[in-house]
């Protein structure tokens, strides 16, 4: 639950500010992750700070998507998927650079594909009803 919420926070903050306020996505993702790490490091132990900041960091990668590619609902869905997938995949890819990014990429791609297929099938349904 906390893992999903952390990923969701990272994704939504980055997505909202990079798309509506036109802040550079790289700067936003890195600055918020750094801030999150230091706040968590001050209030919790180092192991928890490392784990949750990694999840937040991964969430910000989802949030680096453009609004033309994925909607707010899509970002929420991808973050939930990331929260679950990170618990399964990340222990297997420990110590491999880019593991968080590739997990985020897989989640965004799955959500984009499902959205595209749903749009395609609803287009076919409305056409056959005419």
């Amino acid at each position: 639950m906390w893992v999903v919420l952390t990923a969701l926070a990272g994704a939504l903050i980055t997505f909202h500010f990079s798309n509506s306020k036109h802040v550079d996505a790289v700067r936003l993702s890195s600055a918020t992750s750094l801030l999150f790490y230091f706040v968590f490091w001050c209030v919790a132990d180092e192991a928890a700070a490392n784990y949750f900041s990694a999840v937040f960091f991964g969430g910000t990668f989802i949030g680096m998507s453009r609004l033309s590619r994925i909607s707010y609902t899509g970002v929420i869905a991808a973050s939930i998927l990331f929260g679950w997938l990170s618990m399964v995949l990340l222990p297997l890819l420990k110590g491999v650079g880019g593991a968080l990014g590739v997990t985020a990429f897989v989640c965004v791609s799955i959500v984009s594909l499902v959205t595209y297929l749903l749009r395609l099938s609803s287009g076919h349904t409305s056409e056959s009803q005419r």
Binding site: S33, L34, N50, F61, G95, G97, A99
Partner: protein, 125 residues
């Protein structure tokens, strides 16, 4: 063609700087991998916008930083650093105009570069 080659070398340099800086902060200064990558990405995000390269050097520094989150068992020497940068810059240059706006693209490039070099070293590929 000339522009693509120049773009590749700029990306290679940016990737190498991001990768080495993050790896150094993580392993030599014992900073956490997330804090190291985020710090390098934040510094890299201040690279000025260029009319030809646009904001790609910032992206390459951040991609390099993701690759630099590797453990010391995977990146053992400077040759590894250079090889990962070379493969990463090559992938970045090849797909720069594809998958635009898909989150995690930079991380996927970093992961692919690391995986290719590690598999090559182990003689799998």
């Amino acid at each position: 063609m000339k522009n693509t080659i120049t773009f590749f070398f700029v990306q290679l340099l940016a990737f190498l700087v991001g990768l080495s800086s993050c790896f150094f902060l993580h392993h030599n200064l014992s900073l956490s991998s997330v804090a190291s990558a985020a710090f390098v990405g934040l510094v890299g995000s201040f690279i000025p916008h260029h009319k030809v390269f646009e904001t790609h050097p910032r992206g390459a520094v951040y991609t390099g930083a993701f690759a630099g989150m590797c453990s010391a068992e995977l990146i053992q020497n400077t040759t590894d650093l250079f090889l990962i940068s070379l493969v990463g810059a090559l992938i970045y240059t090849t797909i720069k105009s594809h998958l635009f706006g898909l989150g995690g693209k930079l991380g996927a490039i970093a992961f692919s570069a690391v995986a290719i070099v590690v598999l090559l070293k182990q003689g799998v590929m």
